[in-house]
Subunit: 225 residues, 2 copies
DNA sequence: GCGGTTCTTCAGCGTCGTTTCAGCCGCCGT
DNA sequence: ACGGCGGCTGAAACGACGCTGAAGAACCGC
């Protein structure tokens, strides 16, 4: 899941990036409204964290512009702590939620998850495919009753596959969402990690949840294999 | 304010009724666990005074059953005077407070009022994960029957982890909540304190309640490890 | 003011996760 | 049947991260 953070204040931006990455999100940061708009269009993220006060193009305008383009990416706005107006205006311009500064990291993450869940309705907090299930908040995954021991990357990858279970996802798509979009390394890394996952979630159970679609990508079987 | 007293011993039950009614409470009395459970469900009281030793369905089971039903009515448990286990187990099953027999009438009333003032919070006043439990108000923590000797910081950290048990919490989040949010020192201090805690709550018992999620943070196992 | 306890900083070390790479296998089209 | 391409795998290097013990600083009770 990739988050776009549009925030000009360096310290806050760095903090947000670090915090969100620690939660397993891939994070893009734009330090002004113009870059933010460009990234939102060209590299559609799964959600946007948007500061109102921005040099050049402010948050309201950015938000309104995207909505005018029929871009419904969930947007969470960061507003000043006092102005009640800010919040009303935020929602009015098409933001999905807002947070007043200063805010706690936990709240931000919770709201973001809620937003993304709402974005594609009826998404439970626990993802499942057959007897394979995953709790994103707890960073835990199980095959039936046995808990799986996965690293952060493996967990993110499995989460992504689970969110798109039944669909074929390309390596390119995986790279964009599970790794940073600016990742310019060898795409082979996806194969390596798919291998890791299979060794942990399929082989020990004699199952095949993860299928290779040669030339297209991978598909996680909706019934867990 | 209506109190449900679940107590099989006739004399004590009668005494409790009389005393509480004199204080202006309305009182229901159940003389066994099954009736108690039924009354707790059908005529939800503002608080429950619950003896552990009951014919049929004992206090622990009754308490756990209600909590499993998301019933957070404040519960004050009456435990035997000696068994250290009783108290820990009482809190562990979801009771909000306990009183060891024999107890003074004044103390009972005071505790009851305190419980009700606090309302029926979703968060029990005592936090537990498996046999690990902590009483924030009393600044005490136990692993099973043995009390833990923790410093203030250690206690705060354990409390925070317990409140978010089962979830992964980042170092950043811990710093914000356990230290001051404007703490700008070395985040390494969290690692140091996690180390201290493990040495006190896990190692001596051969357990692992506190897990490191590399790159993400820490998680306190919901079952106490 | 003094001793002990608690809190914080720091640097070194070991472990674990990520990434790269090279070689192999098997599918597929010619 | 053959060659090429895409995917799989194990090994290894590298870097990052977390753990620890020690030492200094701050705090507290006496």
């Amino acid at each position: 899941m990739r988050i776009l953070v549009v925030e000009d204040e360096q310290r806050l931006a760095a903090g947000l990036r670090a915090g969100l990455e620690a939660e397993g999100f891939a994070v893009d940061v734009a330090s002004n409204g113009v870059d933010g708009l460009w990234l939102a269009r060209e590299r559609p993220p799964d959600a946007i964290v948007l500061d109102i006060m921005l040099p050049g193009l402010n948050g309201y305008v950015l938000c309104r512009t995207l909505r005018a383009e029929e871009n419904w990416t969930p947007i969470l706005m960061l507003t000043a702590k006092d102005g009640e107006w800010d919040q009303v205006e935020a929602l009015d311009t098409g933001a999905d939620d807002y947070l007043t500064k200063p805010f706690s990291h936990a709240v931000l993450v919770a709201r973001l998850r809620a937003l993304m869940r709402r974005g594609a309705p009826e998404r439970p907090t626990v993802l499942a495919a057959g007897d394979l299930c995953l709790d994103p908040a707890g960073r835990q995954a199980w095959r039936g009753p046995t808990q799986l021991d996965l690293t952060t990357r493996e967990m993110s990858l499995l989460e992504f596959l689970l969110r798109r279970r039944g669909e074929v996802v390309s390596k390119h798509e995986i790279l964009e969402h599970v790794w940073d979009f600016d990742f310019d390394g060898d795409p082979n890394i996806v194969e390596v990690y798919i291998g890791h996952l299979r060794r942990k979630v399929d082989r020990p159970f004699g199952r095949t949840a993860i299928r290779t679609i040669r030339g297209a990508g991978y598909r996680l079987e909706a019934d867990g294999g």
